[in-house]
Each structure stands twice: as C-alpha cells, then as structure tokens.
Amino acid sequence: MTDTVSFTGISKWYGDTVALSDVSFSIGAGVTGLLGHNGAGKSTALKLCGGFARPSAGEVRVLGLDPKTQPELFERIGLVVDSDGLWPFLTARELVSTMAQLRNVRDPEAAAARALETVDLVDAADRPVRGFSKGMRQRVKLAQALAHDPEVLLLDEPLNGLDPVQRRLIVELIRALGSEGRTVLVSSHVLHEVERMAPRVVVLVNGKLVAIGETAGLRELIRDRPRTVRITSPTAVRELARALVGEGLASGVRMVDDGLVVETDDVDALGRRLPRLARSAGATLERVEPLGDDLESVYSYLTAHARGRGRA
C-alpha cells in the first residue's frame, strides 16, 4: 500500500492546549476512519492535511506534498470541512461549479452536475444555499469536494446532520469512493458509523494516537475488555448473583436497589447463559443493559491498553 497521507511526529499546540501530541501514522488507498471523541484532535489533524494550520512540530504530507506550501495539491484532494459556512447567495450548482472552476476543472458545469447527482441534490441544485437544511448543506459540501474527481478525500464529520436515508446514501458513496482506489480519510466520533464505512481506523484520544489498524480488530479489542452489565430483576437477586459467580461469568457483583451490577470479562458468554441461569435461580429478568459502553469509556480503555501493551 502506497502512503498517500502521512503524519510524522506531528504535534500541534495552541498556547497551553495540546491538540495533537507526537502523532505519526500513514494511510493509503481505501477508506480510513479517524475516530475520536470531541476535542480528541480529529479536526486539527484534518486542518493540517488541508494546510489551514501549520504543525508545531513534525511533518504532514499528502500525495508527497506539503499542503501548507504547495497549493497545486488542491487539484488532487477534496475537502469537507466541519464549518457550515457556504456563500449564502449562491445556488448549490453555482457553488459546486465555482469550486470546480477554481480547481481548474475543464468543464466545471458538467462536473458540478455530476457531483450534485452523486449526492442526490439535483432537485435543489438551483436554489440558493441560504435556505438549505443542515443535511443539504452537508451534501453541497460533499459535492464540491467530489466535483474535481480528487485522488484523496478528507472528510470532517460528513454524516453530521443527515437523516437516516441520506446517511445510508453517503456511507455507500464513501465506501464506493474507497473501493475505486481513492484515499478517503473520514472523521467521526461514532464508532459504528466508522465501522460501516472504513475497514481501517486511526483512533485519537486527547491528541494522542492510541490505536491504528483494522476496524474489526478494534471491535475485538473493545469486546475483550472487562464490561459492566446492569441486571434488573425484582426477585431472587441473591440467588442469581451466586449463580453468576459460581459459573465464572462474573468477576464482581454488586447489589443495587432493583437488581445487580455485574463485572464480566466475557460479555458474550454472559449474554448467552444469563436467561438459563436466571430461570434456574428463580429470577425474573426485566432489563439487561451494558454500562460504560459509551465511546469515552472505550477510549479510556484503549488509552490504558495502548499504554500497557503498545498499539493495537
């Protein structure tokens, strides 16, 4: 795999705030997810790729070029930025064709028509963008990034504001762009969204790279971590707790008002065997829910994991 986007020892700080700290990775053709919670450094990483900011240390290269000093690069890359700003007086068609023209496309009108069709915005193409919803604006942003047929796409939260139908369309589009051999770096803070689009993932936590590799591997890593599950049952709670510990499914059990909070190393086995155990213990299962399954705790685990065992 030839590297098209590479970060070498990148650090970026704003006064006392460290946005990225010694981040190094490289990606090639296909879709790569850039995963991290808000403030993890995803947008800063994409800003550096777009040449909108200068790294405090290290080197960013896109297609072997420095995006800050070699603007000719922008004929070959497409960007969707996080900001919602678009020239409000332009129609979607004018905006996309203007951007295509600025990126030296031979027939900008035709390119704009193609791009707008790709993002399913033909019906609204001749309306000024000032009246567009968030989802429509996202699609205009995507269309302008596609109009010049770029080799590399840098997409900052492209699914924000889209309804489920549009979301599916754009996810399919991003996957298709990746399978055409383009390099697509797409940021998101939603793990399952990234899973649907990207076979590879780069995970940032508080400006640090904590995991890079196959998305499936990341999922395994997350699945392997100790989990906390809350079991709500009005009856036979003690018997159920005893059975769970006895079967080796719980490494720790805590009684709460309406049931149990169980620590487990094998959440899949717990899920499979819990109904039978509950039946034999005489407990009635009203609700079973994982606790601490939010991304923050996943990232915390990955951070600890990265510290303890090296990168995934």
Binding site: K47, F52, L90, L102, R103
Partner: protein, 239 residues
C-alpha cells in the same frame, strides 16, 4: 488575478442590506453640495468645503473601512475562506481579488457622491478637477481597503481600530501635528485632489506634495498592504 474570486467577492460585498445604507451615506456629499448650490450667492469654495470637510475625512474612509474590513474578515468569520484556501491559488492570488473587490465596491458607493459634488458644488475647475478628483478617490479607496483588509487579519476588532485611525489620527492629530500627515491616507488624497484646484493646497489643508507623487505614495501604500495581507494570510490559522 482570479476573476472567479473577484466576482464571488463582489457579489458578497454588494448583495447586502447594509450596502443600501452605505450608498445613502455615499450620497451625503451630493446633498450638501446641493444645499451650497441653493445658497445665494453660492460660496466660491463649495466644492473644496464638501470634499475637505465631509467626503475625504468621513464618507470615503468609513465606507472603505466597512467594506475593506469585511472583504476578508467575513470570509474568515463565515468559514468560506476555507474553500478559497483549498484551491490551487496562492494566498496572494486570493487576497488580491478580495481587496480589489473591496476597492471596487468602495468606488461604486463613493463615486456617485463625488460626481454629484462635482456637478452641483460651486468652485470646480472643470475637467482638471474631475480627473485629479477621481484619481484621488480611486487612490484613497485602494489604499484604505488595503489597510483595513490587512487590519482585519491582524486585529480582533478591525472596525474599532479603523475608526480610531480615521477619527483620532487622521481627523485630529494630523490637524495640529503636520508631520503626522505623512502617515495619513487622507493627506495624500488631499494632495492629489488639490492638483485640480488652483489654491487647493491651502483650502484643502493638503501637504506640500506634487499630486502625481501623492498618487504614487497611495499606490505604493496599497502594494505594501496587499503584500502584508498576503503574508499574514499565509501565516494565520484558518478556522
């Protein structure tokens, strides 16, 4: 220069509700010139009075300030600057049409007021007044928009700073400290316009400088601010 960016910037600057207010402000000197014309007998120094006390110290710089500061500032605040920055254009090639659009818009707003003055106010010297006057307005519009465009990338409150420059530096300090006039756009505009008015240097309180030289200083100032703006744009972090 990218005509695409120029057209985009002109549309942005002209298709605004505030443009109507600025156009009305730009026509204020014409109204005053009309009042001069209606006086009997009309005062001989009517044109010089309106130019020297209304048009050059207030109307032109304030219009240039609002337009010049928003040419780059609004693109930056709205985030649309990112789209311009993600094109193969060099930063100078982005800044140049943005500031050119600001200067053109300033001229579109201010020239009708100047022409109205020229036609209505007494005390003009025909074609010579018109030629030097237009040159002064164009030169000052370019210099002011360059200065205020640069300021919009340098300072968090460019309009406030610009107003302080216009009111305190140009409007007050240069009046009692003649050496301060060498750092005043308005003074060079006065020197240029005086070229078309016999005795205009005195009545317009213009520095002792040949009009063509004053025009060259305005052009040089514009070029310097353009380069400084491009340099700043290259260094500044985009939102």
């Amino acid at each position: 220069m990218s005509t695409v960016v120029l057209r985009l910037a002109l549309r942005r600057l002209l298709y605004r509700r505030r443009t109507i207010l600025l156009v009305l402000a730009g026509l204020l000197p014409t109204l005053v010139a009309l009042l001069y014309r209606l006086e009997t007998p009309p005062p001989e120094s009517g044109f010089e009075d309106v130019m020297g006390q209304i048009f050059l110290p207030y109307v032109l710089p304030f219009v240039a300030l609002v337009i010049g500061a928003s040419a780059i500032g609004e693109e930056r605040d709205d985030g649309t600057i990112l789209y311009l920055a993600s094109t193969p254009l060099r930063r100078l090639a982005i800044v140049l049409p943005l500031l050119a659009a600001a200067a053109l818009t300033t001229l579109v707003i201010c020239v009708p007021g100047f022409v109205g003055c020229l036609v209505l106010a007494p005390g003009t010297n025909g074609i010579s007044t018109a030629a030097w006057g237009l040159a002064a307005v164009a030169g000052a519009a370019l210099a002011y928009t360059g200065l205020f465009g640069w300021l919009s990338l340098r300072a968090p409150r460019p309009v406030v700073l610009g107003m302080l420059y216009i009111v305190i530096w140009e409007g007050s300090i240069t009046a009692f400290a003649p050496s301060a006039r060498w750092l005043s756009v308005q003074s060079y505009a006065r020197a240029t316009i005086a070229g078309g008015l016999p005795g205009g240097k005195t009545t317009l309180n213009a520095p002792d400088l040949a009009p063509i030289l004053a025009l060259c200083v305005l052009a040089a100032g514009t070029a310097i601010w353009l380069l400084l703006t491009a340099r700043r744009f290259n260094r500044v972090e985009l939102p």
